[in-house]
Structures are given as C-alpha cells and as structure tokens.
Amino acid sequence: MHIAVCIKQVPDTKNVRIDPDTHTLVRQGVESIINPFDLFAVEGALKIKDESGARVTVMTMGPPQAEEALREVLSRGVDEAVLLSDRAFAGSDTWATSMTLSAAIRKLGDVDLIFCGKQAIDGDTAQVGPELATLLDIPYATFVKKIEKLDDQNLKVTRQTDDGVEVWKLPTPALITVIKEMGEPRLPSLRHKMRAKKAQIPVWGIADLGLDANDVGLCGSFTQVVRVFSPPRRSDQILITGSIEEQVEQLFSYLKEAKVPGV
C-alpha cells in the first residue's frame, strides 16, 4: 500500500495578530510550524505502516524553505518526501492548491490512500482535502478519527459529525481528512533523524507536473482577498469585583439582562 500525506507549513497563528492601536499586523516572533492537523495525518499513515506495512510519501506545496517541514516528518518515520515549489504556485486559493496537489499525486502514480489534516490553522478552510479528492475522482471522508481495514478493497472509517459519529465504508483509492483523535504525533527518532538529514528531496515545479501557469497560483485561483482588517474589539469588557456573593449576583444579573437562555 502506498500512502500519500499532504502537509502544509503555516505561520504559528498564535503570534499573528493585528496591533489594536496601530491596526497593523504584528509579526514579532512568527515562526513556521507544520500545521498541527497534518501531524495527526502523518501519525495516522505511520500507524498503518506499523501495522500492515505501507510506503508513506509526504508532500507539501510551498516556498523552498517548506523543505524543513518535510525533513521533520521524515525524521518521524515517513519514507519519502516531495516538495512542490515554483514561483507560479504563489497566491493559490484552495482550488489552485488542489489542482497542483492532484497533479503531484498523479505523478506519484500508485497512491492507494491520501491523508490530509482536517484543515490548516492559517486559513481554516477545510477545503483542500475534499477538492483534491474531487479532482482525482476518488471518494473521501472528512473529520476522520479512526481508520480500519475492512477487506482488500475497502476501509472502515469513523468520522466525527456535529451530532455524533458515523461509520463509513470507503473503497480505495480514497482520501481522508483527520482530526486529533487519529493519534498524537510520535516524536522523531535518532535513526530517522539521520536519514532525514541526508535525504534527497525532489522539487517538482510547474513543468514537472505538466501544469499550465494559468491553472495554478494566483492566476488559477477563483477567490481573491479584497480587504484585510482587524476583528472588532470587544468594547464591553466588565470586571466583576466584590465578595463572592456580590460577584455571583452581578454576573447573574448581567446574564439575565443579556437574555442568556437557561438563566
């Protein structure tokens, strides 16, 4: 079985914010991390590799420095890595990203299963996984917490919904997007770290993927950001002081006044 995992290097959003006074984006200390959901995806793929043997290839689309992210997951035990990098990919929306990833998956050729994180924490769209599956014309399941082998052609996946869980039978080749319950990512091992350090990571650009510049990056995107701004600040902050009894009374009356159901 050949498993592909799609990961994304993202700015650590906990440090991205707009300064409330100057209305500019504060960048201080923003570093790049691997999208946390993608690490759950890597873990899910490695678990299958542990249990029944599989070749795991990880890929990311990004600037040249996204190679760091690939080396990091190689050090966790992933077999191979591919970097999709080209100036023409810049400015991709979810459609253009899926277009590029789908060409890379086709180039790999023999992929049976694709793992993606539920969403990336910078854009939070949760769209690339389903769009990629659609472009590859394979079935998919989102928000998967557990994956089991049903028989030679089918997987049994358990997915989290707003109302509970659903168990689906999914024929391979297929794509799943995963949530935290797939498993906490394992730590890098010394052996794999050594291997990751030396690994030759191929870089595929637009020509390698046989793509047209009009189909990728900003040119191939349908959506366009026209305005970026700071979310409205909470102006109604109230600190409730006094004895415990006074605090309880005050909070209760505020919630009652705001017509909070259940108060």
């Binding site: 400015g91 459609w95 854009g123 769209t125 389903p130 995107s221 970026v228 902050q237 600190l239």
Partner: protein, 396 residues
C-alpha cells in the same frame, strides 16, 4: 509573482514591513523591496494608506458566462426530520442579499420522504422557491450523492450565489460541489454583503480569528460560501409566499462508492459542543478530573455543553471530543464560560466568536480576561458552587 510597489506613491514610511507575516518586505533607504518570500496574501495592500502596493491581476481562469447566472440559492439542511436552524439563519441573510440584488431566493431541499412541512417552513423563513429532490439515495448524507445532485441542479438552473451552513455536512460536501463546477468557495463566513459591482462580499476570520478577510469570486459561478452557524439572524415571515417545485434528477447520477454503515448519535448532551448555546469550559485550574463534575452540573442545569482546554484533555481529565481551540472544536455559543482556564491563544482562537464570554480565574493576569465580556477574579471552588446555587434558586 509577488506584490508590486508603486514607487510614485510609496513614501517609504515602513508600515508595510511590520505587517508582512512572511517577512518578505524590506524597507531600504530609498525604496521598499519585496522578496520572493511573498505569498501574495495581500496583508500589506490593505495596510498601505498611500495605496502604493497592489497584487498582480487575478487570472480569469476558465471563466463562466456570468450573465447566464441568476438568483441566490441556500442549501437547506435538516436533521432528524426538521429544518436545521443554520438554514433559517442562511435564509435570513440571503433574503437581505436577494432583496438588494432584486433576485429570487431559492432553498434546495435534498432527502427522502421528507415531511411536507419542511418546504413550508423554508418559505416562511424567506425562500421564494423550494426545489425539492426526493430520492432513496438522499435519505442519508454522503458527500458524493449530495454533491452530485446539487451540481446537476446548478448546471441546469444556474444560480449566481450558493450558500450552505459551515456544519459538518456543509463543510464536507460543498467543496466537492465547488471543485466539480470549477468555481471558488469561501469557508466559514461570518458576514455577507453585495458589492457595488454586484459581487458577493464574503468576510471571514483567518489566522485563527486574529485577522478578518473579505473575499470575492469575480469570475467563477456560482459564487459559493459556507456560513458559520449562529452568526446570521433568521427572519420569521409568516406571510411570505413561495412555491415548491419537485425536481427529477438526471438518471445515472449516483456513484455509490461510499456506504454508511452506522450512525451513532452522541448521547451525552454535554458533548455536543458545536450545537450548544451555552458552553461551560474548564482548564488545568480545575486541579483534578473529578472537578469537571462542577462544570457538568452547571451545564446540565443550563442545558449546555462542557468544553475543555488542551491542557485538561492532555491530563486525561476529559475526552478529546470536548476540546475547544486550535486542534479541537471551534465554537461560537451565546455564552462561553471559561473556568480555571488561562486562555492560551490556541484556546482563544476556538472560542473568541462567542457572544458573551465569562472568565472565572483567580489569576487577574490570566490572558483569558483579555477576551472576556465579564471577568470574575475569584477562586473557582468558591465562586462556581455559589453561582450554581443562584441559578437553582432562581429556577424555584
């Protein structure tokens, strides 16, 4: 490609340098340089008060014949035989857009042997037309069946805008619809409007809610968005007239690759985080797993759910399905009460959309107070039992 600086307009003020999340801008003595690190995110464009920075023109893609597309559609979601409230909210928002554009508003109802009352209900919430598709394959949600039927309808009737709830159903199959139709899709919008040119303005949080972005889809049709539940206001239009149209689907549309084996509804009401109006959440400050019982008692009393910080989940005090935040659920209830929870940014990004946030913490410097509507600096073990008593008292 990278952002372009108009040297005639640029005053080299340097504001853009601090704005770029990718450190791609360097302000020199006499010019502003943008490096290849630029990802065309557009952050600098809006910040520049001199209008000196712009992005290269977006491509037209395989553009649709825009004039052929007309009207606004809402995907009507139902659960357990009743219209889901996110659909009421969407119709409320879409009614305003439809009136502004002077076009018809349609609701798309997919299912099998659904109660006729559902269509009436959709009309009373603002729909002019309800397109009803009844088929055994639509009795249960699957990505392929739902998406492929919707794609078929869109190809035949050509709406210019399609909205769906950003629920576990909408966020799962709507991307398939967008990719099949080769058009853009914006996720989890919290504001919608129509621009002067008649385009759908889709505003949504990005970077974990620290930044808001307004997005348009100028060349693809329909313009598609999923919309965050509990943000838009439903309308009650009991006099509103509309019609129901049953639509036969094109033969051979179902692929049936996926089979639903089992649906297990969540029995524990306190675990239904995304649906809850009230969430009582706890963190490491609770000290011990047993102390979650305090939160559960209040949650049951107020018919709410129990949330948790990543810290509490990692301690093993509560199941991961209760986790709110970056790697857990994103929630936006009417009331979010954070108890003994410091408010690490990874947590805050998952709950800052809540209408009212109450923070109970004995540390007055806990970051949770920065986002709290009402801050209570107190020992939770004194405050919470007293607050629960008060809620009970008022009930009697």
């Amino acid at each position: 490609m990278k952002a372009v600086v108009d040297v005639k307009k640029c005053t080299i003020c340097g504001v853009c340098e601090g704005v770029c999340p990718f450190a791609a801008i360097t302000v020199g003595e006499s010019s502003v340089e943008i490096s290849d690190e630029c990802t065309l995110c557009g952050m600098c464009v809006d910040t520049c008060e001199f209008g000196a920075i712009s992005l290269p023109e977006i491509g037209t893609g395989p553009g649709a014949d825009l004039a052929e597309y007309n009207g606004i559609w809402v995907f009507a979601e139902w659960r357990a035989g009743a219209v889901h409230r996110v659909s009421h909210e969407l119709l409320g928002a879409a009614r305003r857009l439809a009136d502004k554009k002077a076009v018809e508003l349609s609701a798309i109802l997919l299912g099998h042997q659904l109660d006729k009352g559902l269509a009436t209900d959709l009309i009373m919430h603002g729909a002019d037309i309800v397109y009803l598709v009844d088929h055994p394959q639509l009795g249960q949600f699957t990505n392929e069946a739902y998406a492929d039927v919707l794609v078929d309808l869109i190809r035949r009737k050509r709406p210019e805008i399609l909205l769906a709830g950003a629920t576990s159903i909408g966020r799962s199959f709507i991307p398939r619809v967008a990719a099949s139709l080769k058009t853009g899709l914006t996720a989890d919008c919290t504001e919608l409007d129509i621009s002067e040119e008649g385009l759908l303005l889709q505003t949504r949080p990005a970077f974990g809610g620290n930044v808001m972005a307004t997005i348009v889809c100028p060349h693809g049709r329909p313009q598609m968005a999923t919309v965050r539940p509990k943000v838009m206001k439903p309308l009650k239009l009991s006099e509103h007239q509309g019609r129901v149209e049953s639509v036969e689907i094109t033969e051979g549309i179902f692929r049936n690759r996926v089979q639903v084996l089992e649906i297990i509804p969540e029995q524990d009401q306190t675990a239904k985080l995304t649906e809850a109006d009230i969430i009582i959440s706890g963190g490491r400050g609770l000290g011990r797993p047993e102390n979650f019982a305090i939160l559960e008692e209040l949650a049951r009393l107020m018919k709410g759910a129990v949330g948790a910080s990543r810290g509490a989940v990692e301690e093993g005090w509560i199941a991961p399905s209760h986790q709110v935040g970056q790697t857990g659920r994103t929630v936006a209830p009417t009331l979010y009460m954070a108890v003994g929870l410091s408010g690490a940014i990874q947590h805050v990004v998952g709950m800052q959309g809540s209408k009212i946030i109450v923070a109970v913490n004995k540390d007055p410097h806990a970051p949770i107070f920065d986002v709290a509507t009402y801050g209570v600096v107190a020992d939770l073990f004194e405050f919470m039992p007293a607050f629960i008593r008060k809620v009970k008292q008022e009930r009697e």
